[in-house]
């Protein structure tokens, strides 16, 4: 099927498909694309993961630095998330200072992880008041065919959960596995043709309206929400995607846990 490139035609097309409960690539509303996930794939990172969802491909890499703790929190290390969306990943991403879109992406992924409490920054202390670990999570996109939020969030938690603290290289003890106390998972829904769908492709994003990002923790608690882009939604619409997210997040969490066991 030829895809109209004029946005208004694309919108019409997506609405017509939605009326028949169809999507451009034949998926059902809440079905995700084919998923590949691989950890330990970046030789110079202390934790890494590559995620492929359809034609969307991203990496997350974890690096460690030694920081001086803030005076008012002498026993705490830090977590920093950086999403620099380089123009390699698609024709619409431009070089230059971080765009609004990349800032939002980095902050939303960061909040899901941070607010779940899975990284205990007190556990990152090396010497109180003097040295602590700063965990740096770099999100890096290779190919953007839509829904980079979920791809980044999945790569991020998998990279963290398989990361090794490089204590030997910094001469502060023996290497050890970074403790991560949970597996927060993000699921994102975009309004396309008037209803929310899961794991939108780039074309669905171009012809769609608002998106909602939901990050849920191991117990099904909500850790982060974000509505992005222009659009209005009702409580009923929200409840429907929250239900969908509860089951999909559990499935993805199992995939991450199985991956760790098989390592």
């Amino acid at each position: 099927m030829a895809i109209p490139i004029i946005p208004s035609l694309l919108r019409d097309n997506l609405e017509a498909l939605a009326a028949d409960d169809q999507r451009l690539d034949g998926r059902s509303r809440f079905a995700g694309r084919e998923l590949e996930i691989e950890v330990g794939c970046l030789a110079n990172a202390e934790g890494s993961c590559r995620v492929r969802m359809g034609d969307t491909i991203v990496f997350a890499g974890v690096k460690f630095q030694i920081m001086t703790p803030y005076p008012d929190r002498p026993t705490q290390g830090g977590l920093m998330t950086s999403a620099e969306i380089r123009p390699v990943c698609g024709p619409n991403w431009e070089p230059g200072p971080p765009s609004e879109a990349s800032i939002e992406m980095g902050r939303v992924v960061d909040r899901g992880i941070r607010e779940s409490g899975c990284i205990d920054t007190s556990g990152l202390c090396i010497l109180p008041g003097e040295k602590a670990w700063q965990v740096i999570l770099d999100l890096f996109a290779i190919s953007d065919d839509g829904n980079m939020f979920d791809a980044f969030a999945l790569a991020a938690i998998a990279a963290l959960r398989t990361a090794t603290v490089p204590a030997e290289r910094f001469d502060v003890g023996e290497d050890y596995k970074l403790p991560v106390a949970g597996t927060p998972i993000m699921c994102s829904y975009q309004k396309v043709g008037g209803r929310f769908v899961f794991d939108a492709t780039k074309r669905e994003e171009l012809g769609g309206d608002e998106r909602i990002h939901i990050t849920l923790g191991n117990e099904g608690h909500v850790h982060s929400l974000q509505k992005g882009l222009r659009g209005v939604f009702t409580a009923d619409e929200f409840n429907e995607i929250m239900d969908a997210a509860q089951s999909r997040c559990a499935e993805l969490r199992d995939i991450v846990h199985n991956l760790e066991e098989s390592q």
């Binding site: 971080p98 608690h221 850790h223 992005g228 009702t234």
Partner: protein, 240 residues
């Protein structure tokens, strides 16, 4: 006092500042506070103080961001350097950029942008005194400023936030509740339909807590909406 030692509520269910769990801080709104703007509003919300100014519709520069079929909103949220206990250094700030973006996303959902193709409307939000909940102040003040500027909207956005502290769901966290609290759920509500145009959340809420917080927000939005209407009526008289 360390983290976790804060007690947000006494045995009678009264918070440190005298409010009940589902009660807002006092909110005052005034229109027309920036004489040179096309529309403006001042909001005092607890100890928060914000000013919003609207300029336009005007020609859209640079051309690159122009839209052929509609206007764009050019929204900036900013905290004045003296608005917080520790001075904020002017300049690029990821938090402000993100809040500017979600505020624009919220307001673009109600403004009738198709009336002004190739134009832009500038919305400037300045926090001059910050307590907790400044993004809600900003969105609410900007809605009033847009109305003051006569920009057609399907409804005004009312933004409020419930949260959680000591495991108790509370409406409109003040500063210590925010510092020691466990969750925050800011929403942007259209009072005519109870639909949403803005939603963020961070922290930890069970689904039950989440539903209580949501309902608190819907109720509070209607209270704040009355104050918004009164401010506009005070300026223009009669119905708004």
């Amino acid at each position: 006092m360390g983290y976790g030692d804060y007690q947000c509520m006494d045995e009678n269910g009264i918070r440190e500042d005298g409010r009940k769990a589902d009660e807002m801080r006092p909110v005052e709104i005034e229109c027309g506070v920036v004489p040179v703007a096309d529309g403006s509003a001042y909001i005092k919300w607890g100890k928060n103080e914000a000013i919003a100014a609207v300029y336009g519709p005007m020609e859209c520069h640079p051309r690159k961001v122009q839209r052929q079929d509609r206007a764009i909103l050019d929204v900036r949220y900013n905290m004045a350097p003296f608005s917080t206990t520790d001075r904020i250094r002017p300049g690029f700030n990821r938090r402000s950029r993100e809040i500017s973006k979600v505020t624009r996303d919220a307001l673009e959902s109600v403004v009738d942008l198709e009336l002004y193709p190739r134009s832009k409307v500038r919305v400037e939000i300045e926090i001059i005194c910050a307590e907790a909940g400044t993004r809600c102040c900003g969105i609410t003040a900007a809605s009033v400023a847009l109305a003051d500027a006569g920009i057609p909207m399907s409804d005004m956005v009312v933004s409020v936030a419930a949260g959680k502290c000591n495991g108790i769901v509370l409406m409109d966290l003040n500063k210590p509740e925010d510092n020691y609290g466990e969750a925050d759920l800011p929403m942007g509500i259209l009072p005519m339909t109870d639909e949403l145009v803005f939603l963020q959340m961070d922290g930890d809420l069970s689904m039950d807590e989440f539903k209580i917080a949501w309902d608190y927000n819907i109720k509070a939005a209607h209270d704040v909406h009355k104050i918004m209407i009164e401010a506009l009526q005070k300026r223009y008289g009669g119905d708004v």
